[in-house]
Symmetry: C2
Subunit: 469 residues, 2 copies
Amino acid sequence: MLNSEIKAQLVSVLGDAHVRDDVESRITHSYDATPLYQSMPDGVVFPSTTQEVQDVLRIASKHHIPIVGRGSGSNLSADTVPVAGGLVMVMTRMNQILEIDKENLTATVQPGVYTQTLHEAVEKEGLFYPPDPSSMKISTLGGNIAECSGGLRGLKYGTTKDYVLGLEAVLANGQVLRTGGKLYKDVAGYDLTKLLIGSEGTLAIITEATLKLIPLPESRRALVAHYHDLDAAARTVSAIISDRILPCTLEFMDRKTIQVVEDYARIGLPKEMEAILLVEQDGPLEVVERDMERIRHIAETTGATHVEVARTEADGAQVMAARRNALSALARLRPTLILEDATVPRSRIADMVREINRIADEYNLQICTFGHAGDGNLHPTFLTDARDTEEIERVEKAFADIFEAAIRFGGTITGEHGVGLAKAPFLEWKVGAAGITVMKGIKHAFDPQGILNPGKIFTDQPRLRKENM
Amino acid sequence: MLNSEIKAQLVSVLGDAHVRDDVESRITHSYDATPLYQSMPDGVVFPSTTQEVQDVLRIASKHHIPIVGRGSGSNLSADTVPVAGGLVMVMTRMNQILEIDKENLTATVQPGVYTQTLHEAVEKEGLFYPPDPSSMKISTLGGNIAECSGGLRGLKYGTTKDYVLGLEAVLANGQVLRTGGKLYKDVAGYDLTKLLIGSEGTLAIITEATLKLIPLPESRRALVAHYHDLDAAARTVSAIISDRILPCTLEFMDRKTIQVVEDYARIGLPKEMEAILLVEQDGPLEVVERDMERIRHIAETTGATHVEVARTEADGAQVMAARRNALSALARLRPTLILEDATVPRSRIADMVREINRIADEYNLQICTFGHAGDGNLHPTFLTDARDTEEIERVEKAFADIFEAAIRFGGTITGEHGVGLAKAPFLEWKVGAAGITVMKGIKHAFDPQGILNPGKIFTDQPRLRKENM
């Protein structure tokens, strides 16, 4: 519950309806899409303007109250769990697309706009905003920016980072910071725009973003390739890239994932196969057709047992929808689903999948692996039960081994989900002691009191690596 | 001259030949490509390994000696002028392309590799590194990264920032920082890779970079469009983009630039025209041909008096070479050439060119304007004489007015040249007081003693804006 004096100050800024500290509001904002984490906030606030965000931050700053910015809470690193209590600041009332500028190919949006809402709005104008996290129906653009969301189209188009040109954000002390603009080139000092992207709400609260749009590709086509053999699938991925084709998506599912998705979606996926690849290309029709033929040929000559090019764009969309629903499909099997996103250079995908399977056997766990083969971003997904503490202990050990393997293969502990709470103990494995020191210095420069999303990214309890144990 | 004790320490690390404090070495490293700035260093060092860079930084750190990292010194913001004395650290001995990885589409390079050397090496493999600063024949990749160099292909392909996946850098205290990797997706903490890009040697010394490559476009074609009227040229730019075509280059030259370039290169540019646009598209042949036809049609219907599509790729290359040589051509006219790079949203280009011409008249100065119309990055170029102090005073007033106009049009004080010394007084106009505070905090986090390129980006003497005067 909020201290009555502070509550009165907040109400005077936001109005009574937008300051909540009833139990229902606090419980519903005590968790997010990440399993295993929950912590009660003292209250929940719903600002509707940048000025209101400033006023709330000034109050929070004065009273040292933690502030956790939140969109839809669909992140997978427990980034919006208020572990230090304080206020959850929900940005969903700031949900306007302010402008679609066709001359400069930009969109200016408030943070609470749903990702898919923006997709639909710009595609009507023949424009394209590529970042497509699997949560895009419900995720907000502010959340996407805070997490630097990726998605299926990362290989060809990059991630959220590549499409944010400018930001308005409010600092912990209530000052407004404006970065970038409708500019493709801007080197006026350090790149604060990119620094805020993926900063997980620990540096500032994003209140507006100017996004880069590109022309909508004219056409799109998909194919599915089936494999009896994991290595053959990896060879296809490597051969496509080495042949200098960049498909817009290049997705992988292992046997266990195929089985579950097919049981859920019933679209004819081959349940007896060791792996499938889903490949999609977009662009001018003649280029797409040529690329699909080349990819079909590459898949066949690198060991696919069967390759099928979707006859229509709609057929292709159905296959991709099945992939997008992999998480929902898997969620039916066991009470708790924990999705990881260790990422490796794409040439090491087969090594990584084999290592994940070995780790699953070692700890006697169910792991289904799918993900973005084209950019090496795999999602080994643990099917488990949060109530089984002994099994969860094994899950945590398995995680650590997966992160260690990813680092060993030249990869990272998180490709697109962020550090949050879940991976804070492992961050030093990737960035080293020097990296941690510098990052903590940056955090201090923005938020000397540490009121913005405390407890995230950094931890007092880093995990030792095996080699150091 | 170096203190003898410090010199002995440096010699013990680098060897006698690679520590210089003779007058010739100091003079030749007292300036860079930026006119009007010069300052003598105490010495010049030439490390050949990361370990040597670390050792030099430890010595510098212990004795509070300024360190100015330098590649070829081709930057245009006086970023490698050692205003606080100390050591210039020249990175040109670290000039190896360490790897071109065709499976992961990456190149790993040392900082002293020339930009064009990398272009040639990767293009032999059918791969492409798009950033193409006009200085690319002599500029180094380390310098490109420190400055976040742009170039002609920014509109379609982005700038250096978009092609650096990972860095090895040495901090002021001699610690090695490693960021990113052969990974398109990596959200492990704050994005230190992007933060170091464009940090102008003030945060760390870059010792290795992993760069992203893309498939080399199959073909390339150029056209030239002539205009009696500036607004018509701007209309063509807007119409191309609004028609959702992203050419790989979309360059602008005003009348004065055309005249000078034609006198120099003699390739048949129309000296009586008010403006020309040079437009180049690359990609699959059929797409390039279709786009060029569309662009020709757009140019004709928006007011071009004449449009000529280059018959061959070589013809197109000749036209683009003329544009790349604009600076050399202009340099023949007067003793001193000062190139600016105020940048505006591309929809404001005509407004900006008109404003530049008005300012030139107001201060009775010769300004030729050319630049990257597609991304709004203009290079108004002052033809002047550094020895004429009265004229230089007018030049400086005109600069300030140009920056003010760029900001007013939603632009920035520098699109691709960096802040350095030259624009430090104006940085606050773009990033605000909050931005300056945060940037200084970041600087402090990396380099608490302030030994890395002191005097750059930040200044104690910010300029007031007219509106505040």
